[in-house]
Amino acid sequence: MGKLTIGCFSSLVGSLSLDFSVKLAEAAVKKGHTVDYWMSGNATMMSKKGQRAFKDYSALAKTVQELIATGKFQITACEACAEARGYHKEDTIEGARRFSMDWYLASAFDADRVLHIGGD
């Protein structure tokens, strides 16, 4: 089984790139792979707690928490990007983490594949 590192800059709401990448992570985990998921820029909001699901907007918190529970999915937000958006440590959903950008590069170091979605 392999390790996939996914990095994303795109918004939780306003783009479907996060939806796509979380679905991809879900498929990889189901196949037995491990996934490191890095959020930078607007993507950091995906690990903020208190998200309310509406049918008109992407709602990924539940899926992310189910993925964390598998033990094969690590999700980490860029700490500076989060703080710049007023999203503090205590606002983080259970099981998600926050680090500096070098964490992502370290994850890429031993990843079998890296998928980086750098747009918005």
């Binding site: 990095g7 800059f9 930078s40 820029g41 607007n42 990007c81 500096s100 950008m101 070098d102 964490w103 992502y104 590069l105 370290a106 890429a108 170091f109 990843a111 594949r113 890296v114 980086h116 750098g118 747009g119 918005d120």
Partner: protein, 137 residues
């Protein structure tokens, strides 16, 4: 002991979104990645600007004056100061009519010794083929 090579390929315009800035800051963070790795392991990052992304390389950016923000140019200077390989696509510069003297080519004013390289796309493609992972921004 191993080295993994990453190439950040920047296609986004500066300031329109955060993508090009984040590409640069992520590349710069390769300098501190060792804290997460075993002794001797390294991540080596390089950057290529293609398409609209070449606009990030213009010099005399006034982001602080107009937005109160550090400029992309400042981040580019830091990459040169850190001896990272910075490539700019020649064909895309030609399409925009941008000449070399309009670009940030060095970081001599802050002690940098590495220069920006204006290269044909074929050279960027070779770099893409030589690295372990590609990250498009």
């Amino acid at each position: 002991m191993a080295t993994r090579k990453l190439l950040f390929v920047v296609r986004a315009l500066p300031y329109k979104t955060e993508a090009s800035r984040l590409g640069l800051t992520h590349a710069i963070s390769s300098q501190s990645v060792e804290i997460y790795l075993k002794d001797g392991d390294l991540v080596e990052a390089s950057i290529a600007f293609i398409g609209d992304g070449v606009m990030n390389c213009l010099k005399n950016q006034q982001a602080m004056k107009h937005y109160g923000l550090t400029s992309i140019e400042g981040h580019m200077k830091n990459t040169l100061l850190l001896d990272m390989k910075v490539m700019v696509c020649k064909e895309d510069l030609d399409k925009f009519g941008i000449k070399e003297d309009a670009l940030l080519m060095d970081a001599e004013d802050i002690g940098g010794e590495t220069n920006t390289q204006i290269v044909p796309y074929s050279e960027i493609q070779k770099e893409m083929e030589s690295v372990d992972h590609l990250l498009f921004c």
